[in-house]
Symmetry: C2
Subunit: 358 residues, 2 copies
């Protein structure tokens, strides 16, 4: 079924208020959940409210956090998220990176003791209105095997980078460091079809096209797929995200990242606090005249958009185009939820004696 | 044939001195050429002396550059390389990033009006002895087609990231944002074998396994290969390298990057000066206690190194291991040059009335 932005936004806010988050925090988190829905990342949208609900039930989420700066220099800081939902320390940290950049030219914040924060692109884009480039990374529960490894050691560890232009829309890249996301495994499994090659391996590290292989001890492969096609580069990228997000901040890294789902127990060994994120803001005019830079970005975007399309392709896209088209579409058509998500949210509504949407 | 480090280092230095570079600059450049040879990147080693020789002959390289800072903030700067060989402004810029980081916690330098600088990893690693993380990017002549494009718009645009550890060797990632480098095309063409799938396309954007396709108007594909396997993520990465290196600095971006080879004419249209690089240095103790960070990096490296190997694989490697093994090997065995490179260098030696090595 289709839902209006307002209906789903208010519902999400109310669920979070019922868990014990402040109304202001709940609205700020709801904006990020809804941005995932409108920008075409439904796997990071309200479907995750169910996971958060279960973590909250298990007492594994702090709803009254004292997010704070624990270390800083003119252009850097480390933030402690106090074990709350990721959106709260993420917004705090990105705002801090922007403030640092106003003074020092750039700002870089590593955040620990946090949890899943939704879509990375949301925070990177916060820099745009300040005429800054925004950068966001986060680590995540281990699902991805390094090149030559049988074991999953890294999350899908996304990177987002937002760069302002003048008359063109901004350049917004937001991508996991794996060829596909976990959602594609679920969809293939539901349809009863095999995955393509280059996406997964079994528990022994043999290539696999079984969409249920992750539940059988298998792993996702890094961007590149196999060594011949550059999987060691995807492994490098995922590792850098992990180290910047977790070793610089003092969070759990690699296989020590705590599970996002309450049905998995917390790990015996911890090497830091919660999971970690990394945020950057670079003031354009700390490098170039701001107007000149934005005109050159218009030129960059126009040049790439006008490249001759490959045989059978309609046009060359700019990072961010697909998400903007999704936003335009959902603004007219509303936001679709699949029946399983509707049912999960209805269960939460009942638990809190809330009305279901609409 | 095999050559000693000293022999090849002195020869390289003397070639550059004969072109008109100062002795000090020539030695600094020779270190980077030789680092490519010892670290296993022969495609970026002394083979490039031939390209530089021809650029010099054509009057397209400034051998008495005034490299200078043209804009700065506490944590940033833009450097103008004055149209010289890339190693000179690259070292200047990375040193400046390190100095900025000492004061502001991090330092970020965008460099324009430069040329090919050899291996990215060299500059990223300059940060290690200062207990900093080093980052290097550069754009390059267009060879790579964005997803859905028939035209090459981006270079192989590498990224290097060096992260210090305590008792473990450092984490050093240094990779092009394509599945393979151009050298693999040349080798396949010489052997008369086809490339694998996912590396190249023809002039119309159809998949191609022809190793000579680049000379026929074809393009390399970004990391990921095709859209299904995430080539749009490789395209994002290559684009970010291009924008940070060239739009932030005021260099030529994308298809406007000037050719590295003197037999190609300079382009009619320029959108900036020369090609561009981007350098970053982050002081570890601007985030964490330095000792704690390095111990945690030891733990990170040890954990990943001890992951169970995939079926048929010997061990899981850490970014930088392969290059260190190459350094150890060449230190014992000497540096191999293929006959074509030997012959090119002998031609240069004759031109300058220099003795050939050994």
């Amino acid at each position: 079924m289709k839902y209006s932005y307002e209906g789903l936004f208010n519902f999400t806010t109310n669920v979070l208020v019922n868990m014990g988050f402040s109304h202001a925090d709940s609205m700020e988190c709801a904006k990020v959940f809804l941005a995932a829905e409108t920008r075409g990342f439904a796997t990071h949208g309200v479907i995750r409210l169910g996971d958060y609900y279960k973590l909250w039930e298990a007492g594994r989420i702090n709803t009254s956090p004292q997010v704070k700066i624990v270390h800083q220099s003119p252009s850097t800081a480390v933030v402690d998220g106090d074990g709350t939902i990721g959106m709260i320390p993420a917004k705090f940290s990105m705002k801090l990176a922007i403030e640092k950049a106003k003074q020092a030219g750039t700002g870089w914040v590593a955040t620990r003791n946090s949890c899943n924060f939704g879509i990375s692109g949301y925070y990177a884009m916060m820099a745009l209105e300040h005429d800054m480039i925004g950068i966001t990374m986060t680590n995540a529960s281990p699902l991805v095997a390094p090149t030559f490894s049988a074991e999953a050691m890294l999350g899908t560890n996304p990177i987002a980078i937002a760069i302002p232009a003048k008359n063109q829309p901004p350049f917004v890249a937001d991508f996991a460091t794996t060829p596909i996301n976990r959602g594609k495994f679920t969809i293939a499994a539901k349809k009863g079809v095999q995955l393509g090659h280059g996406f997964a391996q079994d528990a022994e590290g043999n290539p696999s096209t079984d969409p249920t292989v992750l539940e059988k001890g298998g792993s996702m492969l890094p961007l590149g797929g196999d060594r011949e096609h550059g999987s060691h580069k995807g492994y490098c990228l995922g590792s850098v995200v992990d180290i910047f997000s977790a070793v610089l901040s003092g969070a759990n890294f690699g296989p020590f990242v705590p599970p996002m789902v309450a049905y998995l127990p917390l790990l015996d060994q911890k090497v830091g606090d919660g999971l970690g994120h990394f945020f950057g803001a670079m003031r354009i005019d700390a490098f170039q005249d701001g107007e000149h830079f934005k005109l050159m970005m218009d030129k960059w975007i126009g040049t790439f958009r006008n490249a001759k399309p490959a045989n059978g392709c309609e046009r060359v896209m700019i990072p961010g185009d697909q998400e903007r088209e999704s936003e335009a579409r959902t603004a007219i058509e509303g936001i679709s939820l699949i029946p399983q998500v509707e049912s999960d949210l209805q269960t939460i509504a009942k638990r809190f004696n809330m009305d279901w949407i609409g």
